[in-house]
Symmetry: C2
Subunit: 233 residues, 2 copies
DNA sequence: TTTTAAGTTTGTCGAAGCGCAAATCCAAAT
DNA sequence: ATTTGGATTTGCGCTTCGACAAACTTAAAA
């Protein structure tokens, strides 16, 4: 196992406020691993042997339906915990986790969850705040799916990605990991065809630029107007 | 304030496993109140002054969109905590809570949340398990909204209500609180018209019986077939 | 009992967006 | 440089379901 330095996790939200020597102790139980793009970190239904911290990269969390359809539950950015089935009282992972780009991931044995949360109350607090935020997020998405049209939902998804993981470029804000039309359709409950049409339209109107698996938002506020439901012609 | 007996909450899930004398202490800080049907217990956006335990009745938790549309986030049954903004790291309630029938509700000042969770780890554990379950639930609903047609979603919603809160009668399983077509449409992201049409169809086929604000499921498994997506004629 | 309001049913119409299909484009691998 | 497979674009028909409208039913209020 490689040597892990406390600085790795010192200023990562879930571990913020924990003393340096304890960080070292925590890391002594952790395992670091690289996952190249596309590789699966864990699978839906699999026993939750570990929980994870994303040190670098982006992870796609995907739910699969009985008949094979996929729905993207969320994207994980670096500094976030994921696969924390223990925090939800589950003993199997409820979704797949796939590296959206090359990633560096820290993992701990699931059996340590209770020990850690008991020993580090700030970690516990931080974590449960995260779970709370994700619940909020999910509820908001339900409201969105129930009340907004596809066009608005797609605009929203693109905006959210740009805001959360965007990198400023000459053209605007670039979503900094490869994302296909299909991916966006799986985030918004539509088809890749519809997403393609929408992006084409927006590209013609100068709101976005896009190539294969790349999207740059050039006119965020105009997109926001669409997301808000302006049903203009 | 009325006298509250420890037996009130002794076998309610969140408080299970806490010693009797501690229950008494907990109750000394609680307030009991009756809410008649239709009354609002708290409102979306309001400062989260309290958290609640439903002792008897059913509560409807409703999200309101900027343009006034309503989406039912969930129904709370007796024995469940609700309005636990503190557990989610929020300082405002994220939804409205309305009594779906006459209810009896226990409430604690929100300021006690930290004290209580710290003093009673089993309460904390139980609570976070609840939050986890609700997150799961929300994710499942997102998948449903993304992949299933209205007919399936409505069938599912009716089945879930019947299973969770149903009362056996001569005709079948009766959802034991008043629920309108509109309510069901707000649970499933459709219109009351569509729900009405579906229920009419199902009534003709003998799967359900329904009157104003009453639904009885007579053929649960046939409904389940529809929920699963059999697109028969 | 009569009135009133909320809830429900049913019809018609039209649009949003999906399924299917086919052409094209692009990037990586050989 | 060529090949190959995945990703994207675009067209077309069709289904699902929402919007609008109007009649009707039921329960509670006056």
């Amino acid at each position: 196992m490689s040597l892990l330095d406390a600085s790795l996790i010192a200023d990562v939200p879930p571990f913020r406020g924990i003393e340096r020597e304890n960080l070292v102790a925590l890391l002594s139980n952790a395992r670091s691993e690289r996952y190249e793009i596309g590789r699966t970190i864990f699978s839906q239904g699999e026993a939750a042997h570990s929980f994870f911290l994303l040190l670098d990269g982006h992870i796609r969390v995907v739910k699969v339906t009985p008949d094979g359809e996929q729905v993207i539950a969320r994207y994980i950015s670096s500094g976030e915990l994921f696969g924390i089935a223990q925090a939800l009282g589950l003993d199997c992972y409820p979704a797949n986790a796939v590296a959206a780009v090359d990633c560096v991931v820290l993992s701990w044995p699931g059996s340590l969850w209770t020990t850690i949360t008991e020993k580090y109350p700030t970690f516990a607090t931080n974590t449960y705040r995260t779970v709370g935020a994700r619940l909020q997020d999910a509820q908001d998405r339900i409201v969105e799916m129930a009340t907004e049209r596809v066009e608005q939902r797609v605009a929203n998804a693109v905006l959210k990605l740009a805001n959360q993981t965007g990198r400023k470029t000459d053209d605007g804000i670039l979503i900094d990991f490869p994302i296909s039309r299909q991916d966006i359709s799986e985030m918004t409950g539509t088809t890749l065809h519809t997403v393609s049409r929408l992006l084409s339209t927006w590209e013609n109107e100068g709101l976005v630029k896009s190539q294969r698996k790349k999207i740059t938002v050039t006119e965020g506020h105009k997109l926001a107007v669409i997301a808000a439901g302006k049903s203009d012609s």
